[in-house]
Symmetry: C2
Subunit: 173 residues, 2 copies
DNA sequence: TGCCATCGTTCCGTAAACGGAACGATGGCC
DNA sequence: GGCCATCGTTCCGTTTACGGAACGATGGCA
């Protein structure tokens, strides 16, 4: 009965975490959000299947975007962990925006994507070495890399710090 | 009766757009998602207040993240339009990731934030001029800018193209 | 110690989201 | 023309998420 869909199962704990971080009681948050305490209690416990309406109210009361409550799929490779943040459907292409984390000193390769697909990385922390396997490039904090992803490519954290970066993958129509 | 909360009002049209882009009929998507046609019909029309369960099923059948269906708040300034993509609660700071768009030739200023707040912009398209009002800097596609946001600062699209960029705002604890 | 406010959970009647079935409309196909 | 599959909407009974109220537990404070 408590079996919620995979991607939604973490909403409850996340709400509870955000709430306690802010030092709010369940009653207080319920009051601010304008939802019943029973609703919020069940939401946090994972015993309810909340409505979009409820989620929106709670997110607003927590001061976060609804997006912050629902987790995107997490891709766990050998070294790289990527969280899908957002999908943009533009006119001529689809964009997927990931947050990428690579532990220091580790690396991972990726098989080619479809022709025309490009990847764009912005480094926030650490030293990222990425690109086609035959011609990778490096970038530190604030740096930017892009490469064609229709050939085998890889990612590596070459410095002593974990790499934090955003990765934008562009799929042309 | 059809009054759904602001941030949720666009879910229906977005689902319909994603579905028709894929050439799927309503019946077919409902079948693939394992939801009733009545449910999907009402969801797209905005006459229902869908459950997290339902949203997850539909997103999965469309092959997109749940994140792609729910819009973050949109900040509409004089020139800059920003969509909040994600909020990260790290140990020592909170990060807000925005997508920023500035029409060519326009500019906007922003009042100071709290001390210690920094902003980090990565330009995808156009020429961005941004930073403290007394010392702005410029960056083109692939470029990166960062500045302290605890002083008056501004953003401008100085080239002939609209600026598309990601803006990361870091709030220390 | 008693008193009281607030905590989070549980109970319960109501409102509504759910899936299945029936509906008329539309578009091949023979 | 008739036939039939599929379209998206609507109807309807069942399930369940909803908010309000009641609950016992906990923690100041006089």
């Amino acid at each position: 009965m408590e079996a919620l869909p995979d991607g939604a199962a973490h909403v409850g704990p996340r709400v509870r975490a955000l709430r306690t971080e802010r030092g709010l009681s369940l009653s207080e948050l319920a009051r601010r959000a304008g939802v019943g305490k029973a609703t919020l209690s069940g939401l946090e416990a994972g015993t309810r299947n909340p409505t979009l309406d409820t989620l929106h109210s709670v997110a607003a009361a927590l001061g976060v975007a609804l997006t912050a409550l629902v987790e995107g799929p997490r891709i766990h490779g050998a070294a790289v962990r990527m969280d899908l943040l957002r999908v943009f459907e533009e006119g001529a292409a689809t964009y997927e925006l990931y947050r990428m984390r690579i532990p220091a000193g580790t690396a991972q390769t990726s098989p080619p994507h479809h022709p025309g697909v490009t990847e764009h990385a912005t480094v926030f922390a650490g030293e990222l070495r990425a690109g086609p396997l035959h011609d990778p490039a490096s970038a530190g904090p604030g740096g930017y890399l892009e490469w064609a992803a229709d050939a085998p490519h890889g990612y590596a954290a070459v410095g002593e710090q974990d790499v934090h970066a955003s990765l934008l993958i562009r799929y042309p129509r």
